[in-house]
């Protein structure tokens, strides 16, 4: 059964596409600056570029999650969204806040707190926006005919993600306390509640694409999100090793964060097992690629590259170096970037009635972006390990070490070009689907 109000998801997906492309532009600006070409310094200094790059990332992912929720919740709860008008209002206010924030970054209007740079007045608008979003989703869900585990886990993830935005809005005059609460947002998002959102979307896609019994999929969904919180909450300690917090976090953060990859391993094994078990031969193969891809790449980027630097004795040396950037890229891409692209690739043919999934472009998009991102991660890894060795082990000065590793940024730019070509294939395929229609949704039901 399909629902007409699902069409509103298209707007959020389209916004995601535009912001993703813009994010990449700022990535290139920083890549070139690291390679020694900072010609734009006067207009877009590095701190503007980095704030824009990181916030656009967060907003295109959130917009993708919101679109996913507007698409999935009606189907799972067997109920049209309570108000499409309000959903559209929520969409436009989100887009406007994002644009104003990004413009502000170019005029020194921000807070200097990594990932939370959006200035305070806009934070309040974000809160109102997200409350509206949650209201629409929760009322739809609870007035619906059924409440599936998939929908509940997804809604719970979205709810707690909103709640956890608040600790980032308190002022402290102690830098360490500031950092302490910044991690309640950043860490408890990506290694906590966002994994619920990811798990919910993943379960939905696996049910649709593999045809495996819902009860079985949802049972394992509980186990996976259980592992997430079991490890991820106390795992926050891996950010408290060296910022002025007590020493006991070395032990607690070390042990529990080392368990965090289990949840991602669980997701990968689960997705592969359901794929093998599945008897349904869904025609949208490329959606299955992205779905299995996100399960596997998140384990690589978050799980393996996370554990690579989470042990306190290693983190002492890698903390705050390009090793972190290596992990940050593959983790965000594998877990959340690919997840959003997976639901988009699945939803678009259903929304528009145009089945573009067999086009070569859809496959180029998948392979080029992933190969490009693995290349970028490798370039960051080479740069990061060399930086750690030269600066933290041998004692070279920061800038001398940066000069020595400049060459890796040319490799980064090369790989980023491949990645970008892949994304451009994806985005052009997206817009070739055209607008969603009621007829398409009916034909599908």
């Amino acid at each position: 059964m399909k629902y007409k109000s699902q069409k509103v998801a298209y707007m959020f997906f389209a916004l995601s596409m535009v912001l993703l492309v813009l994010q990449i532009v700022y990535g290139f600006i920083m890549g070139f600056a690291h390679a020694g070409f900072d010609g734009l310094h006067e207009f877009i200094p590095f701190n503007t570029a980095t704030a824009t790059h990181k916030n656009l990332l967060v907003v295109w992912l959130l917009s993708g999650f919101m679109g996913a929720a507007y698409y999935i919740i009606p189907e799972e709860s067997q109920n049209e969204l309570v108000s499409v008008k309000l959903a559209l209002l929520q969409f436009w206010s989100l887009a406007i806040v994002a644009v104003v924030a990004v413009i502000g970054f170019h005029f020194n209007w921000w807070e200097g707190r990594k990932f939370l740079e959006i200035p305070r007045p806009l934070d309040y608008l974000v809160v109102v926006n997200v409350l509206l979003f949650l209201g629409i989703i929760l009322v739809t869900l609870f007035k619906g005919k059924q409440r599936t585990t998939t929908a509940l886990v997804l809604a719970m993830g979205l709810f707690f993600a909103a709640l956890l935005y608040l600790p980032g809005m308190i002022d402290f005059n102690n830098q360490s306390v500031d950092s302490f609460f910044r991690w309640w947002v950043v860490h408890l998002w990506v290694e906590g509640v966002w994994e619920l959102i990811m798990g919910g979307i993943l379960a939905y896609l696996l049910i649709k694409l593999t045809g495996v019994d819902r009860e079985l999929i949802e049972k394992w969904l509980y186990v996976i999100v259980g592992l997430t919180f079991l490890s991820g909450i106390l795992g926050t300690g891996h950010h408290y090793y060296y910022m002025g917090a007590p020493e006991y976090w070395l032990m607690i953060g070390g042990i529990f964060s080392a368990l965090e990859p289990l949840a991602f391993l669980g997701m990968a094994l689960f997705a592969l097992a359901m794929y093998r078990k599945g008897e349904k031969n869904h025609p949208n193969k490329i959606a299955l690629y992205w779905t299995l891809g996100t399960a596997i790449m998140s384990f690589a980027g978050a799980g393996l590259l996370g554990i690579a630097h989470t042990i306190p004795s290693v983190n002492l040396y890698t903390h705050g170096t390009l090793v972190t950037a290596m992990h940050g890229h593959l983790a965000f891409w594998g877990a959340y970037g690919m997840m959003v692209l997976a639901i988009i690739v699945y939803a678009m043919p259903n929304l528009t009635g145009r089945k573009l999934y067999d086009r070569p472009g859809a496959h180029y998009a998948f392979w080029l972006s992933n190969i490009g991102m693995i290349g970028m991660t490798t370039a960051f890894a080479a740069a990061g390990v060399a930086q750690v060795y030269l600066e933290r082990k041998v004692g070279m000065s920061f800038m001398d070490a940066q000069k020595a590793i400049e060459v890796h940024f040319w490799v980064l730019i090369g790989a980023a070009i491949l990645f970008t070509i892949g994304i451009l294939f994806f985005v052009s395929n997206f817009f070739k689907h055209g607008m969603p229609t009621d007829e398409a949704l009916e034909a599908n039901s």
Binding site: N173, M243, F398, M399
Partner: protein
């Protein structure tokens, strides 16, 4: 075999338990841990002003401090020990982009007072007990 109900119980029970432990540890960290390790009694008005300037200008958008931030410009936790006050003041008050070692810094042209506030902030940061961070370069030839 594990049933769906047991799986749900594992999820809810584990979450509540670990969340409570986390809250307990956080309370301890905030009430006594961080204040002691960071000597919060030394946070003067200058330090607070300095932190605010650090924030408002998004210095973390290029530098790291306590190992957090971007990786384009030097770690600032021990900047006063490494460079001395005079040098740092020259950087902060410069009206043209500081380019001594190749990369450009934004030319903030801070006033004398603003620069002193930032230096007070860095001095306070530099005296924190950070469990051994930044590490001593153990392969350095003397």
């Amino acid at each position: 075999m594990l049933s769906k109900n047991q799986a749900r119980l594992f999820f809810l029970g584990g979450t509540v338990l670990f969340f409570l432990i986390f809250l307990f540890l956080s309370a301890n960290t905030l009430s006594s841990g961080i204040p002691e390790k960071t000597h919060s009694e030394n946070i003067t008005e200058e330090v607070t002003n300095g932190k605010q300037l650090f924030d408002e200008n998004n210095c973390m958008g290029c530098h790291t401090i306590l190992g957090e931030g971007a990786y384009y410009a030097p770690e600032l936790t021990k900047v006063i020990d490494r460079r001395g006050e005079g040098f740092v003041k020259a950087v902060l008050t410069s009206k043209t982009p500081w380019t001594l070692s190749g990369r450009k810094m934004v030319a903030y042209g801070f006033s004398d007072k603003e620069a002193n506030d930032l230096i007070a902030f860095f001095k306070w940061i530099g005296k924190m007990d950070l469990n051994g961070f930044p590490p001593k370069p153990d392969l350095k030839k003397e």
